[in-house]
Amino acid sequence: MIADRKPGFNTLAIHAGAQPDPATGARATPIYQTTSFVFDDVEHAAALFNLETFGNIYTRITNPTQAVLEERVAALEGGTAGLAVASGHASQMLVFHTLLEPGDEFVSARQLYGGSINQFTHSFKKCGWTVRFADTTDADSFRAALTPKTKAIFVESIANPGGIITDIAAVAAVAKEAGVPLIVDNTLATPYLIRPIEHGADIIVHSLTKFLGGHGNSIGGAIVDCGTFDWLKSGRYPTLSAPTASYHGITFAETFGNFAFAIACRVLSLRDLGPAISPFNAFLILTGIETLPLRMQRHCDNALAVATWLSRHPKVAWVNYAGLADNKYHALAKRYCPQGAGAVFTFGLKGGYEAGIALVSNVKLFSHLANIGDTRSLIIHPASTTHRQLTDEQRMRAGAGDEVVRLSIGLEDVDDIIADLDQALAAA
């Protein structure tokens, strides 16, 4: 018997999950823009509702276009199954809704996308879930934040906006010791740069809106089940380990084995909370993913050139890009993402808050907006936008002080990107 050949990353980015359409032979994945799917007969309908067979009922739960996207992302990450949802925020909501009960806690890196800090701190409180923050650069701080109520640990692989590379394996060791799953937000790295599963992650979340979609045209999120966590062992995850009342008493971890988490997120949390992705968005993101390896490498190459140029500019106080040899996180970058340290980074202006405002006002090629991971180069001043709802201390700790400007380097000619910054800094 010959084992199957393992396809490479470029091949998976184009083919994983996508066979020609069985009905028409269409080679590109069709947009199944429909709310619902007819049953073959009453028996088929019953089997679908009981989860006894595979198939589509309603686009809030499954859709064939969405399914291709889910398998594609799962394959790129090396996980057992995926789930695509309406946004990155929705993916986090569904993950924690599946893991936590009211009164439970989780430990999260405090160096996070500002929107995640808000979601965890304020909205999750309404569900009775408490976040305790730790320092993503110090694995021991996660251990110190554990309590008997801790059910999960959450980090970003490359933290936004601080440009920090998390030592995923070190935090994974803490999670393993505590018997809780490690959730990694892999949005800024994408599986092209870092595959968290290889470093001990149990669950991966993505904002597909960013580099995976890559063209700034669609909001979407994804959850990847790594298939690594034993849900039955501790009995602390009743959604997975106890009989489920809304499906006639089936136990997810028994019935669905190493992809039970992804199925539970879908048929319980997505079914009941409802943040489904539109098939059209799923199609656009899928098309983006086909060129992910090419785009991501160019993003990284451009980002390194821009960061190097900025680090020599007289008006720039500091540049925090882990791709630079003198950066604090360069060693971690070489270990975790040798192909590049991503394309989102921050730098500090000697002129502080006012200089930041002036820079974002003066750019002509860069777009001043609150997103990252577009073909276009993007710029934002976090203190006056994405992180303005946070306290001064939270902003500083998240790497979003007054003088900080965040860039998401696009795919334009790098000379044009640098020329735009040059003229805008001259005017700042």
Partner: protein, 174 residues
């Protein structure tokens, strides 16, 4: 043979070359995985014969339950073990005695001694897999649930005759 990994062709050949499965440990409880698997495999055209001494003489999904493999009248191709790994050796000896072609142990069930016995007697062995999941994975149905099938194909999936949401496997076809 290495039982940590099976090629897709090995699994597909087993599932397309055989039609009669004796399911040892089949349950009448409609929320148990064995009930799900039996129902699915029947829908895919397999003849599934339940074996469960506690249910002998009763019916599961319209099929008569036998107390042991030796009691089964029909010719059994695949013996599917839905029991603990420790029970696998005794069941495998019975499978050899009734001249089954394949010993298949469910997810979580692995017994290398049983595998050695079966292979020495010329039987094929699959361990720590579910035939329902493997059928769904290779036919493409499991991909509808976002599961990573770990297979690529530029061929159209094969549709079954029962309706649009049914895919089937065919011998020798990816």
């Amino acid at each position: 043979m290495n039982h940590d990994v099976y090629s897709d062709a090995y699994i597909r050949d087993i599932l397309t070359n055989h039609r009669t499965i004796a399911m040892v440990g089949a349950s009448p409880n409609t929320s148990r995985p064995s009930y799900f698997a039996m129902k699915y495999l029947k829908a895919k055209g397999f003849c599934v014969i339940p074996v469960n001494p506690g249910q002998a003489g009763k019916e599961i999904l319209g099929e008569k339950v036998y107390a042991s493999l030796a009691d089964i009248v029909e010719k059994v191709d695949i013996v599917d073990i839905f029991r603990g790994s420790e029970a696998a050796v005794a069941i495998t000896r019975e499978a050899i005695r009734i001249a089954a072609h394949v010993v298949w142990m469910q997810i979580g069930v692995r017994n290398d001694e049983a595998a050695r016995l079966a292979e020495a007697a010329g039987l094929q062995v699959v361990m720590n897999r579910c035939p329902k999941i493997e059928y769904g994975r290779l036919s493409g149905e499991l991909s509808w649930a976002g599961v990573n099938s770990r297979r690529l194909s530029s061929k159209r999936p094969l549709l079954g005759v029962k309706g649009v949401q049914h895919r089937v496997l065919a011998s020798g076809r990816d």
